[in-house]
Symmetry: C2
Subunit: 475 residues, 2 copies
């Protein structure tokens, strides 16, 4: 761990670069109705789900419908050295989409075709605007599914760019493990394929993994080849309540250490269970809760469930309730995914400042409990949910976006939490990415040498710094 | 797929760079007894297990014993712009270690300490010279193991550098999935940490994955943090014989498509079974064979085994034989791993030219059977083994290294096989890496744009081209 960084600026630094009228005219000429300078369109493309104060929107939006569209837009912007900010559905959380250096938003949402399903190979190739729910609808008839599930119905291009994960990652991995290959358009407008459909490869540098998590700063993702999985023969979900967060977390630690192949294991604290109950009209017991799911053969699921029940009992777990029908399960998981909205709507006008630390599993209880105590001491309202099987959890501190004091309290808590996670050999970001918000945290975590290596790669592949500039690392 | 490349040169291109006497003196001064210019030592460090004709050995060998040693050696070489070739145990297969541009071999074999075992987190951190067997010995008492198993008792630094995999990858993934973080020494002699012990992260570019598979061309790996797994409660191995290779392969395809979590599934063709029998004093039925292993709970293993037996029966599989004791299993897997030596020793004085293609599982039978027919038509002796669950297999064509004709026949077969695999959206290298041998194949597979991107990254991180130059991509 390095020297701690100052608390992140609540207003991002803005250094607008000139967008020449000639570029706007050329884009309009090339893209016609796929080009917009309307303020409402620009504003919608200049923000995300983060709690940042607004910055000026991009100068214009291009709606790409093909790889060639992306190439042409990038080439025109490159000619004028104007920033290009790729845009999927706008669900990112760390300010990734804010036009802090001006430029053009390149919306790939209309590139939303599933290009090929190779059910026999358990692979699928999609355009970047396909969302995860759409993908699962389109592959349903094959008996396969795509497990990565970050909550929001994000685009697969965006999920690739932020290295997203979510509730199923404990068993199926993250986008890092599930993207096989990409087609990308480079900062010079060239098309490059980063891999094949082979399940493994030792052929050269891992360009695929370099682009997974690059947050739009190295190029625009125009195709994504993903792994699919057979729908499990049996699925069972369960909730279990605990008197303390420590009991719940210690249950999880033991599940993981024993190698139980649990598919999902989520923590929801008692307060958040209450918010979820009121938002989703549920009657969950308002105690700290683990929400779990088991995938496998009927016998395998039974075996896992028995093991987990035994472990939970040793830690005061009680009130195991099973959801075996798809409808019950969908209701539970939808409620879990709506925790964010349940919390935000509980305090009208508020925004959530979300934390995203991830620590080695043995440190999870220490990291989480100390941070709960700190948050409670400030009196700030928050929700707490977590992909605890991976050591990843999220506080969402609910602030009045116009209150500098509340914002400062939340940022200070986040700062303390990140410092704690880094000291435990963990990371400031399990799944949301760096964006604008965590640039200082990344430096604390990785050290100047590693950040300088990232910068060197960025500069080599994008010498004019036009691809989503000002994100991930400072100048 | 791009225009096919000419058949690889059987003699690597050598462009020796000057190694100034002043550098040798400085290294000798700094490293004393850890420095050698003895011809035998240099020759041992100037070759690997590939079938390349020899090239002049490196000018000297430095035996590093610490990260500081590595830094100092690299800094001195950087000062004189002299190549540095990292060396583990010398088991690579594609000419990775040949000093085609001269320079210094940097042997990290003495950096062979397990630095920390975090059993509760299922992680371990090792120095790069620790071998996989040593690691498994040292973690045995924790009830954990490291599954990646490329056959040779390779060093973990070398396995990281070539993105190795092996027999367990079908269930546990490759080095790509199992390296959590690295410490590396850059081409300027700086120490950089590429990650943390968190199981997942979205914090910046994936430098870890960039170095995994970089074949020593971006820096020297000085520490490796790896995932460990709980030793399965039950393990069972089995062999099953098939009248045709097609039957065996179709069995595997169905196992994978059904999502059976098989731990290992290896193909050995009838001829190779014979070689293995004679080499390892076994009495395996001399038919095409699948060698399998199942990991899980006792009930889970039983369930997997029953499913697989049903599938095998549908494809004329017969003679299921079980190996339930650790001793029987070790005997079988040792025999499998010795297939290479069994084959090479069957033809005194020969070398094996090994293929390494990997294709999407649905194309495995087509790819493999056509290549068997081609090889049989030439009459060349070969062995055939494969990690078929991943779509990866190896022909080893046995040639007299002094016979230009045999070498040309083997290279032509390899060339046809690679072209076929690439046309099937597969890769020229599942696990051996590119080295010298597959530089043309990489270009065919990835395309000039992707190779140029790799070159750009290499040039940015190693502007004087001192880190294992002349490998992976041409100038």
């Amino acid at each position: 761990m390095n020297a701690p960084t100052p608390i992140a600026h609540v207003t991002p630094e803005v250094h607008l670069r000139e967008v020449p009228a000639a570029l706007l005219a050329a884009l309009k000429d090339r893209f016609g109705a796929q080009f917009s300078e309307a303020l409402a369109v620009r504003e919608q493309h200049g923000r995300d789900e983060s709690a940042f104060t607004t910055v000026p929107p991009p100068a214009a939006v291009v709606f790409a419908e093909s790889t060639t569209d992306v190439q042409d837009a990038v080439k025109l912007c490159a000619q004028y050295k104007v920033p290009v900010i790729p845009f999927g559905v706008g669900s990112s959380l760390e300010g990734h989409l804010l036009a802090v250096q001006g430029g053009i938003s390149l919306d790939v949402g209309r590139m939303n075709k599933v290009l090929s399903i190779n059910a026999e190979d358990l692979t699928v190739t999609v355009q970047p605007g396909v969302t995860r729910k759409q993908l699962n609808e389109e592959v349903k008839s094959t008996g396969l599914f795509f497990p990565i599930d970050p909550g929001a119905d994000a685009s697969l291009g965006g999920m690739t760019a932020t290295r997203a994960s979510g509730t199923n990652a404990v068993r199926y991995g993250t986008m890092r493990e599930n993207v096989l290959a990409l087609e990308v358009v480079t900062a010079r407008g060239e098309v490059v394929r980063t891999g094949t459909r082979a399940k493994k490869s030792s052929a050269g540098y891992d360009l695929t993994r370099l682009f997974v998590g690059s947050e739009g700063t190295l190029g625009v993702i125009t195709e994504v080849t993903l792994r699919l999985y057979p729908l499990p023969e049996a699925v069972s979900a369960a909730t279990c309540s605990f008197p303390t967060i420590a009991d719940a977390v210690n249950t999880v630690i033991q599940i993981i250490q024993l190698g139980v192949p649990i598919a999902r294991v989520e923590l929801i604290d008692a307060n958040t269970v209450g918010l979820v109950n009121r938002h989703s009209k549920l009657n969950l017991r308002e105690q700290h809760m683990l929400l779990m799911e088991f995938h496998g053969s009927p016998a395998g699921v039974r075996e896992q469930a028995e093991t987990v029940q035994d472990i939970a009992s040793e830690h005061q777990g009680a009130g195991f309730e099973w959801a075996d029908t798809p409808e019950e399960r969908t209701r539970l998981w939808t409620a879990r995914h709506n925790a964010y909205f349940a919390a935000v709507q509980s305090k009208p006008g508020c925004r959530a400042i979300s934390t995203d630390t991830c620590v080695p599993i043995s440190r999870l209880a220490d990291c989480l409990l100390d941070s709960v105590a700190e948050a409670d001491a400030t009196g700030i309202p928050y929700f707490l949910v977590g992909h605890v099987g991976d050591g990843n959890f999220h506080f969402g501190y609910l602030i009045d976006p116009d209150s500098a004091e509340e914002r400062a309290t939340a940022e200070a808590l986040n700062h303390q939490l990140v410092a704690r996670a880094i000291a435990m050999d963990g990371t400031c970001s399990g799944e949301h990415g760096v964006g604008l918000h965590k640039m200082g945290f990344l430096r604390d975590e990785a050290g100047e040498g590693a950040v300088q290596m990232m910068r060197t790669i960025k500069h080599a592949l994008d010498p004019d710094n036009i691809m989503n500039p000002g994100k991930v690392f400072g100048a």
